[in-house]
Symmetry: C2
Subunit: 201 residues, 2 copies
DNA sequence: GAAAAATATGAGTCCAGACTCATCTTGTCA
DNA sequence: TGACAAGATGAGTCTGGACTCATATTTTTC
């Protein structure tokens, strides 16, 4: 069962393509041409299609990669003692990780318009579910701890996360603006904001 | 100087195309094909190109239309006595108007990626400036009245507006979720949330 | 180190969608 | 109502970008 027949250069190329695709999608959105990715990765276009038979699969691979990172981060934070801090930390991590990934937010937003085919099968739905579960844990615990307003659920949070990713990216040139923006949104999420308003850092 | 040589049917067609384009872009994003718009508008594709020589110009026309509406709304609200309410009302109007316009939010977000050429000339920049000015008035007055936190400026607000448009649209199927989402964001914007927290409606 | 298998190459195919234009139709105006 | 210019038509052109495949290069294996 241990498939070990992958040639070393093939593995290297695959990683390189994935990496490049991530950067290119971030810069030009998922509409960026496969040819550009191939060129920047220093391989022929045929090589890209060998590893990712369709463009949708390439896009999917990039997202699965990102989502995995975020899910891992969420799971780790879920073990923290301070449920409130864990929640807000995740939100911040999310904003940071998303900041450079325009296409990421896009694809999440329409969830299956750009990557219809891919969204139905493969690793994508699994990772997405995984992430959702981890985030839900964070939210529930933070609400139980009285740190987050209790009138919102996963749908609200999801929509908010996606839009935060976009908003933050929009002002990526100015970290101060980013911070204030994030702070504003987080303040809205706090439970009965009258109580636990920490001093501005 | 009064150019009055526009044939009646031409004016009708133009309006029809604009209207249809708005709907189609809303449904499928700005990548929707010109041919589809022509078909749904009941005209030949050549007619679309007669009125809007390039696709970018068609997209621009649709946005200018929307932006004008919003600018008008903002200007009107700016004359209200209650600066705080005016600000929050505008936010709500914005969210509603944006709710059905995916491409609208997109185009605003990247402000000149999809419509590069168009953004540089024509009515677009003018209307955009107009809207920005009206919104700035609303913000400044609301802050002066102590209704909105004073640590944010137009950049933060802008990014927030765009993200709200997206977020709201994402959950357009559920008005309750929409309301809670908007409420969360507005709460974050209020000044020293400790003071003026109205009862949950 | 040579055969075999896996992988890389990139010119070429194919197609969708923007845009053109020769020709036909219709509103306008006297 | 006739004439003519503005407008409409849609088959056809052109282009960019996804995807293929015959051939050339590696790796791997023994």
């Amino acid at each position: 069962m241990v498939e070990k027949a992958i040639r070393a250069d093939a593995r290297r190329n695959r990683a390189r393509i994935l990496e490049t695709a991530e950067a290119v999608f971030a810069a030009h959105g998922p509409a960026a041409s496969t040819e550009e990715i191939a060129r920047k990765a220093g391989v022929a276009i045929g090589t890209v299609f060998r590893h990712f038979p369709t463009k949708a699969e390439l896009v999917e691979a990039v997202f699965v990669d990102r989502l995995s990172q975020l899910a891992a981060s969420a799971r780790q934070l879920a073990e923290s003692d301070d449920a409130g801090a864990a929640f807000f930390d995740f939100f911040t991590t999310w904003a940071e990780l998303s900041a450079l990934k325009q296409s990421f937010a896009d694809a999440l937003a329409n969830d299956g318009v750009d990557i219809q085919a891919a969204a139905e099968r493969g690793a994508y739905p699994a990772v997405r579910t995984e992430l959702a579960a981890a985030v839900e844990t964070l939210l529930t615990r933070a609400q139980a701890a009285g740190a987050v307003r209790s009138d919102i659920g996963m749908r609200e949070l999801n929509a908010l996360l996606i839009s935060v990713a976009r908003a933050v990216e929009q002002v990526r040139d100015d970290p101060d603006v980013q911070r204030r923006l994030l702070c504003t949104i987080l303040d809205g999420l706090r439970a009965g904001t009258a109580s636990a308003r920490p001093a501005e850092s």
